[in-house]
């Protein structure tokens, strides 16, 4: 398990402890969604599209000169986008190996695991899978 990724998750968990109420929690997520750097329009192509049937997620990945994977992502739904922002905070700028071996538990701990359920089809679960696939793909290169 990667220490980087784990400490990032812990940071998020701590951050959310400030919001015991669902409404504040969601307001924070919505805020994060609004703050997320917009993905370059040129990257909003079908190849990068993960089509849930509730909302759509775009994801692109590049290797940084330092050997880390840098993710960019976007979604048309703002809550999904806020959750995407959290995923990026956790997984972006880590080594391929760290990403491939990561164990994401923070959504569960902040009580938002339902959004990762396959039943939501908001594209989030597929996005996480896709992020790990990138990690795997870059690590065998």
């Amino acid at each position: 398990m990667s220490a980087t990724i784990d400490s990032r998750q812990n940071q998020i968990i701590e951050e959310f402890e400030m919001f015991p109420d669902w409404m504040e929690k969601y307001e924070h997520i919505i805020e994060l969604g609004k703050e997320l750097n917009l993905i370059d329009e040129s990257k909003k192509i079908d190849d990068n599209l993960i089509k849930g049937c509730q909302s759509r997620v775009w994801l692109s990945a590049e290797m940084s000169p330092e050997g880390n994977v840098v993710f960019e992502a976007d979604s048309d739904a703002i809550i999904t986008k806020g959750l995407v922002a959290l995923m990026i905070r956790v997984l972006s700028d880590a080594t391929p190996k760290e990403i491939a071996e990561s164990n994401l538990h923070f959504l569960e701990e902040i009580g938002l695991n339902a959004h990762l359920s396959p039943t939501r089809s908001n594209g989030l679960l597929s996005m996480v899978k896709q992020m790990k696939m990138y990690g795997l793909a870059f690590s065998v290169r």
Binding site: Y26, I30, Q54, T80
Partner: protein
């Protein structure tokens, strides 16, 4: 806000155990009946009673349990025949739902009759279940699919209908009520027009049966499909009505027990008569029994009363929702039933649905299995509130308050 005095909503709601539930500490506001209706106690208990005291496989049994189960099962066929005013009980085939019913028509009538060069007309309003079976078959057989388009308000475009009919389709498929826009199609008139050019007409009644009195002989259609779970009945059961002349000619679809007359490796295997020819395998016995109880329940309340109540709810919901800034009602045809779909400027439907859920309000968001409508309207989906006999004006208020709160959070 017109309330119907003769309609004892509180008493009626007490018949639905699930309506007592809470979600995140709020009383459940179930506005997703178009996806699946809740079941009154009599439906739940009829199934339980059947399983606890009468269950047996049916037909061909000489023992008492088998006879009693068969009589109960066939009794529901008679009840349904009457309920939709079919001419004969042999015209009712039990299926596992609307999707199964439509696939049956595609797999037997369709496969036998549709060929390269033929035309099948579908409306833009259809549910995927009334599109994909025809697309799959079209790919195999090479016939053309022509789309009857919709106007801005979600009603069928008359010109487009005329254009489609001018191509002399062999089959026209139309939903009685749109599950996304609520549009009620004048299937009686459309059937008459389609028959004039020689088309066979299939009506998808999934969203109509819980809300309207259905008279298949008045409509005049050749096939009518519906699901039990949308009409206060159990899941896994539905029916296909087919005109006797058509059913008799149609080849079988699924092979198995019950649908045969004689099976032999040495001689020709021969098939049973309709409806049995199309009911291969052990049917969903408790489901059919439960469906019978649902018909009784619906009739005990009265479909006209239910329709009146729901109409008032739709009107009230449309008015109240329209007060929200940026509100865009999707589907505003004159004759509407069952659902109110909407979008709010600057928000995404799934976000609204997520916030509403936190408030105990269950709506559906997304394309509602009607992507072609979304493509046409250029929208990512809608928020859909749908109503049933047990829905209340207070629930509409909760919906409106919830949407207001969501919009405030999201913008």
């Amino acid at each position: 806000m017109k309330r119907n005095a003769a309609y004892d909503l509180n008493a009626l709601r007490r018949e639905f155990p699930i309506l007592d539930r809470e979600v995140y500490g709020h009383p459940l506001v179930y506005l997703d009946s178009a996806a699946s209706a809740q079941k009154p106690r009599v439906v739940i208990e009829a199934q339980r009673e059947y399983e606890a005291h009468f269950h047996s496989n049916i037909h061909r049994g000489v023992h008492t349990l088998a006879t009693q189960a068969t009589e109960a099962y066939e009794g529901v066929r008679s009840k349904l025949t009457e309920h939709i005013n079919a001419a004969r009980r042999e015209e009712i085939i039990f299926t596992s739902g609307t999707t199964d019913s439509i696939n049956l028509v595609a797999g037997t009538w369709g496969r036998a009759n549709l060929n390269s060069g033929d035309v099948v007309a579908l409306t833009r309003l259809e549910h995927h279940s009334n599109i994909v079976p025809w697309q799959i078959l079209a790919k195999e057989k090479g016939f053309d699919i022509v789309v009857i388009e919709i106007d801005e308000d979600g009603s069928l475009c008359e010109e487009s209908l005329k254009a489609a009919l001018s191509r002399s389709p062999k089959l026209l498929c139309v939903s009685h009520v749109s599950n996304t826009l609520g549009t009620v199609n004048d299937v009686t008139r459309i059937t008459a027009q389609a028959h004039e050019v020689g088309a066979v007409v299939l009506v998808d009644g999934a969203q109509a049966v819980p809300h309207k009195k259905i008279d298949v002989r008045d409509i005049g259609c050749d096939f009518y499909a519906a699901s039990g779970h949308k009409m206060y009945g159990p899941s896994g059961v539905g029916f296909l009505y087919g005109k006797a002349e058509l059913l008799e000619e149609m080849p079988p679809w699924k092979g198995g027990g019950e649908m045969i007359q004689t099976v032999s490796f040495e001689e020709e295997t021969t098939f049973n008569v309709p409806p049995y020819k199309f009911e291969a395998g052990t049917p969903h016995l408790s489901g059919v029994i439960g469906l019978g109880a649902a018909l009784d329940w619906i009739n005990s309340v009265g479909l006209d009363k239910i329709a009146e109540h729901e109409e008032a709810l739709i009107k009230y919901a449309s008015e109240r929702l329209s007060e929200i800034e940026g509100m865009r009602l999707i589907g505003t045809s004159k004759d509407k039933a069952s659902v109110v779909s909407f979008l709010v400027d600057g928000t995404h439907p799934s976000d609204i649905g997520t916030i509403l859920d936190q408030l105990g309000v269950a709506v559906r968001t997304g394309h509602h299995c009607t992507e072609p409508i979304m493509n046409k309207l250029g929208i990512p989906g809608t928020v859909r509130a749908s109503f049933a006999a047990y829905s209340t004006f207070e629930e509409v208020d909760a919906l409106v308050a919830g949407v207001e709160r969501a919009v405030k959070m999201l913008r």
